[in-house]
C-alpha cells in the first residue's frame, strides 16, 4: 500500500492532509536519512572496466571542487595516472550517501574511498579484473592517500574545469530532453506561513500568449502553506507573459505568527520577558555591572547562489527521473517518492551552481515532476530570482547580547544571549507541532553552532531561544557559527580595549588550544600585525583581528585592513587568513574555500540582508538584496597551517573569523562599534 493511500484512509488527527486538486500530499515531513560513509559503502563508488577506473562521486560538486579532491585520493591510492580515472556524479541508484553539507567531504569520505581503492588495487594486483570485491579495511597508516605522496598535497587542474570555461552543459538547467517544455508554479505573494491557494485566473487570456501549453492545477505539494498554480510553455521566455495574463487572484487565510521579525527576536525584549531556554554554557556570572555590554543583530539573509534552483523531470510510464543540482539527492528522491508514489524515482545529481546550504530541501523537483505528469512531457522548472527570495529558506536573523567583565587583564564573567529562528528544524520542512517538540526537548544545534567561545572566560554562560517566523529559515554557510563568531569576537575586542591590551595578546592569554594559538600567531606574522595602517590621504584606516574554531575541527584567524571615507564609505583593503584543517589534500582549493569564506565575510558586514514587510520577503532582484561585487572583495593572503591531523573541513571555517576581523578593523579606524548589520554608510560618516 502506498503511504499516501494509507494516510488518506486514516485521515484527521496529526495526519493532517492538504487537499490539492485530485491528489493529497502528506504533511508529515520526510526525515532526511544521513548514514555515515564507510569502506563497505565506498566500494560502490569506484570501479574498473576496460583498463580504466570510474569514480562515482559520493558528494555533490558545488564549487568546493571535491570532485578534484576525491579524484586525487582515488588516483593516489590506486596508483593510477590522472587521465585514467573518470569522474561521474551519482544518481540515487547508488547506495545512499548523506547530504553534501557541513564541510564533511574530506573529513568523512576520503578515508573510506581510500580503503575501497586500496582493496581494488590489491585485487587487480592479484590478477582479478572482474566481479565484485570486498573491502578489507587496513590501518589508516597503510593508506597511501592519507600521506603526502602521489597527488596528495598537489593542485591538479580542476575536474570539469575545461567544461566550465568552454560552456559545456553541466548544470541541471542545461539538461534538454526530447520534447522538453518549461514550467513554473505561481504562488501567492504572501508569507509562506499563510494558507494561500489560487482562487481564479484568466485562462483565456493566458492561452493567447505565444508558446502557451497548459495550466496545471495539480502542481505538487505546497511550499510552506502556499499552494500553487502551474503553467507550462514551449519556451521559458513565455512564462512571464503567461503569468501576467493569468492574473491569478489568491485565497488567503490565516495570520502567520511573528510577522514582525525584529520585534520577535529582539534579544533585550526576550531577556526582559524571562530567560533563554536552551543553555550552551551553564556557568553563573556574578551579578553586577559589566565592562562590555554589547548588542549585535544580523538580519535575514539569502544564500543568493547565481544559479536559481532548477530541475528537469521526465516520466516514463510510472517511473520518474529528475535531474537536479541539489545538495541531497537521496532526500529529494525520498520526498518525490512520498509525494507521487511513483513506481520508481531516480534523481540524477548535477553540478550545483552554488549551494551554500540553500539547496537541501525539495522544491523545483516536486514542481517539475508534477508539471511533467500534468502535461505528459519532460518539464524544466527554474525559479526566478524573485522566487528564490520569496519561496526559499534563508539564514535566520539573530539578535545577540554579549556581556563581559574584565579584571586584571582577563575576562572573569561572560554572558551571551541570542534569539534566532530554526536551522536544523527548519520551518521549511518541520511543521509547527514538530518544532514544539524539538523546541521543548533539544533546541536547535544549528543556531548554537559556534556559540561556545574558544576561550577560557571564567564564569561563562551562553543561552539561546528560537522562534518560528513568518519566513522560513534554515542552514546557510556556517549555520550559527558565522553570526556567533561575529558576536563573540566583537565582544572580545571590546574586552581587550577595557583591559587596555593588544587584541592579539589579549586573545592569546585566553586560549589553551595550541592549534588556535598557532593560526593566530601565524596571521599576525603574515600581516605584520605590529604595524597597522593609520590615517592617510583623508581616510580613516584601521586593522582588526579575529579567530575561531569550526565544529571543533578547523581553525582560522583573520586580519583585516579597512579604509573609511568621511562620508562613511568603507572599503576592505586587504585580508590575511591563516587556516588549519589538518592535512591538506589540495592546497589551491583549500585556499579557494578560504577566499570564498572571506568574500562571504564581506557580505555579512556590508550587504547581506533580505528585506521583509509584515512577514513577506520584499526583495525581487539583486538591487533589493545585493551581494558583494568584484571591487568590494580585496586581494587576500591565505596561509595554510598544516597540523598533523587527518583532513578536516574547509568550506565554512574562515567565516567564523572574517566578519569580526572586518568589524574590529572598522572599530579601530572609526571608534564605532557596529551593532546592526549590514553596515549602513551613514553609520560611519563624520
Amino acid at each position: 500500500m502506498k503511504r499516501r493511500t494509507f494516510l488518506a484512509g486514516v485521515g484527521g488527527g496529526i495526519f493532517a492532509l492538504i487537499g490539492a486538486g485530485t491528489l493529497v500530499y502528506s504533511q508529515i515531513p520526510v526525515i532526511p536519512k544521513r548514514p555515515e560513509p564507510d569502506a563497505k559503502t565506498a566500494i560502490g563508488w569506484i570501479s574498473f572496466n576496460n583498463n580504466r577506473f570510474s569514480l562515482t562521486l559520493p558528494r555533490v560538486e558545488m564549487g568546493q571542487n571535491i570532485a578534484t579532491g576525491l579524484k586525487q585520493i582515488a588516483c593516489t591510492e590506486l596508483g593510477a595516472d590522472w587521465d585514467r580515472v573518470d569522474v561521474a556524479f551519482h544518481d540515487t541508484g547508488m547506495d545512499r550517501v548523506k547530504a553534501t553539507v557541513g564541510s564533511e567531504s574530506m573529513m568523512l569520505f576520503a578515508e573510506p574511498l581510500a580503503q575501497a581503492c586500496a582493496s581494488l588495487r590489491d585485487a587487480l594486483e592479484a590478477g582479478r579484473d572482474s566481479g565484485e570485491i570486498a573491502v578489507t579495511p587496513r590501518p589508516g597508516s597503510e593508506l597511501r592517500a592519507m600521506k603526502k605522496c602521489g597527488y596528495i598535497g598537489r593542485s591538479p587542474e580542476i575536474v570539469q574545469g575545461q567544461d566550465i570555461v568552454t560552456g559545456r552543459p553541466l548544470y541541471a538547467g542545461d539538461v534538454m530532453r526530447s520534447g522538453q517544455l518549461f514550467g513554473r508554479v505561481l504562488r501567492a505573494p504572501e508569507s509562506v506561513e499563510r494558507s494561500t491557494r489560487p482562487l481564479s485566473w484568466n485562462a483565456d487570456d493566458a492561452r493567447t500568449v505565444p508558446g502557451f501549453v497548459a495550466i496545471v492545477e495539480d502542481c505538487g505539494p505546497a511550499i510552506g502553506k502556499a499552494q500553487g498554480l502551474g503553467i507550462v510553455a514551449e519556451r521559458s521566455g513565455a512564462l512571464d507573459a503567461i503569468a501576467e495574463a493569468l492574473a491569478v487572484s489568491w485565497d488567503v487565510t490565516g495570520t502567520p505568527e511573528n510577522v514582525d521579525i525584529q520585534e520577535t527576536i529582539d534579544i533585550d525584549a526576550n531577556l526582559a520577558a524571562g530567560g533563554l531556554p536552551h543553555s550552551v554554557l551553564d556557568g553563573v556570572p556574578e551579578d553586577g555591572k559589566y565592562d562590555v555590554d554589547q548588542r549585535l543583530d544580523v538580519p535575514l539573509a539569502a544564500h543568493s547562489p547565481i544559479e536559481p534552483r532548477v530541475a528537469v523531470a521526465e516520466w516514463q510510464g510510472g517511473a520518474l527521473t529528475v535531474w537536479s543540482g541539489t545538495q541531497d539527492a537521496f532526500y529529494v528522491r525520498d520526498v518525490l517518492l512520498d509525494a507521487f508514489g511513483a513506481d520508481g524515482v531516480t534523481l540524477q545529481s548535477m553540478r550545483v551552481g552554488g549551494g551554500f546550504g540553500g539547496k537541501v530541501s525539495a522544491t523545483v523537483e516536486l514542481e517539475a515532476a508534477a508539471l511533467a505528469r500534468g502535461v505528459g512531457a519532460p518539464v524544466k522548472v527554474q525559479w526566478t530570482r524573485a522566487q528564490e527570495f520569496t519561496l526559499g529558506y534563508h539564514r535566520p536573523p539573530a539578535s545577540h547580547r554579549v556581556r563581559a567583565r574584565v579584571f586584571d587583564g582577563k575576562v572573569t564573567d561572560w554572558d551571551h544571549g541570542q534569539v534566532s529562528s530554526h536551522i536544523f528544524f527548519t520551518s521549511a520542512v518541520a511543521p509547527k507541532w514538530m518544532q514544539r517538540a524539538t523546541d521543548a526537548l533539544i533546541g536547535d544545534d544549528g543556531v548554537a553552532r559556534g556559540m561556545v567561545p574558544p576561550y577560557a572566560l571564567g564564569r561563562a554562560r551562553a543561552a539561546y531561544d528560537v522562534k518560528r517566523l513568518a519566513v522560513h529559515t534554515a542552514a546557510w554557510r556556517g549555520l550559527g557559527a558565522g553570526p556567533n563568531g561575529l558576536a563573540i569576537e566583537c565582544a572580545m575586542d571590546e574586552a581587550a580595549r577595557v583591559a587596555n591590551e593588544d587584541p592579539l595578546e589579549f586573545r592569546l592569554k585566553h586560549i589553551d588550544d595550541r592549534l588556535l594559538r598557532a593560526v593566530l600567531q601565524r596571521v599576525a606574522e603574515i600581516s605584520d600585525w605590529e604595524h597597522p595602517p593609520c590615517y592617510e590621504d583623508g581616510l580613516r584606516k584601521g586593522r582588526g583581528i579575529a579567530c575561531g574554531i569550526y565544529k571543533g575541527t578547523s581553525y582560522a584567524a583573520v586580519v583585516a585592513d579597512v579604509a573609511v571615507e568621511d562620508n562613511g564609505a568603507t572599503k576592505v583593503e586587504k585580508l590575511w587568513c591563516a587556516h588549519d584543517c589538518g592535512m591538506v589534500v589540495n592546497p589551491d582549493q583549500v585556499r579557494a574555500q578560504c577566499e570564498g569564506n572571506l568574500a562571504w565575510s564581506i557580505g555579512m558586514i556590508f550587504t547581506d540582508n533580505l528585506p521583509t514587510d509584515k512577514g513577506v520577503v520584499m526583495a525581487q532582484t539583486f538591487i533589493d538584496a545585493p551581494i558583494p561585487r568584484n571591487s568590494d572583495v580585496p586581494d587576500m593572503v591565505i596561509e595554510l597551517v598544516e597540523s598533523a591531523r587527518a583532513p578536516q573541513g574547509a568550506g565554512e571555517t574562515a567565516i567564523v573569523a572574517g566578519p569580526a576581523a572586518i568589524a574590529n578593523a572598522i572599530r579601530a579606524a572609526t571608534g564605532v562599534r557596529i551593532e546592526q548589520f549590514p553596515l549602513k554608510q551613514g553609520d560611519l560618516a563624520v
Binding site: G63, E157, G167, F182, R235, Q382, A599, P628, N630, V633
Partner: protein
C-alpha cells in the same frame, strides 16, 4: 532575420524573435554556456559579446541582434587551443561552482579586446557587473592581470 553566431550565419526563426537572446541561444541553439541568473541584467551570468560589446543576453531581444554578430563562450576556443582568457581561468583555477564564469570570461574577453592594457578603474568598470557568490573575484583579477602582463 539572421545573425552571425560564433562565426556562422543563422536564421532567427519567426516565433523566436520576441524571445530574449538568452532563451534563443539556450533553447533554440542549445548553447547553454550563457546562464540565467536573474533575468534583469543585474548579475551578468548571461553575458555574451554582441558586435564587440559585452551584453546581457537576458535583457536583449533576439530581434535586436538581427544582422549583428554574437559570440558566446562556446565560440572562443580554437580547434586545439583554448582562448587565452579561458586558459588563464584554468591556470589560476578561477572557477568554484562555475555558474557565473562563462559570463565573467565573456566580460573579460570584451574588456581585453577593447583595451590591451586596462587600468584598474577600467577593470573594475568592466567586471563589477558580473556577480560571483563563491568569491572568485580576486582570482578573476589575477587572471586578467596575468593576461595584461603577457600582452606587454
Amino acid at each position: 532575420m539572421s545573425f552571425t553566431l560564433n562565426g556562422q550565419t543563422h536564421d532567427i526563426p519567426d516565433d523566436w524573435r520576441e524571445e530574449t537572446l538568452l532563451v534563443l541561444l539556450r533553447e533554440h541553439f542549445n548553447l547553454v554556456g550563457a546562464k540565467f541568473g536573474c533575468g534583469v541584467g543585474l548579475c551578468g551570468a548571461c553575458t555574451v559579446i554582441v558586435d564587440g560589446v559585452a551584453t546581457r543576453s537576458c535583457i536583449t531581444l533576439a530581434r535586436d541582434v538581427d544582422g549583428g554578430t554574437v559570440r558566446t563562450v562556446e565560440g572562443l576556443a580554437g580547434e586545439d587551443d583554448l582562448h587565452p582568457v579561458q586558459q588563464a581561468w584554468l591556470d589560476l583555477s578561477v572557477p568554484q561552482c562555475g555558474f557565473c564564469q562563462a559570463g565573467q570570461i565573456m566580460s573579460a574577453v570584451a574588456l581585453l579586446e577593447n583595451r590591451s592594457r586596462p587600468s584598474e578603474a577600467e577593470i573594475e568598470e568592466a567586471m563589477d557587473g558580473n556577480l560571483c557568490r563563491c568569491g572568485t573575484y580576486p582570482r578573476i583579477r589575477a587572471a586578467i592581470a596575468r593576461l595584461v602582463e603577457a600582452s606587454i
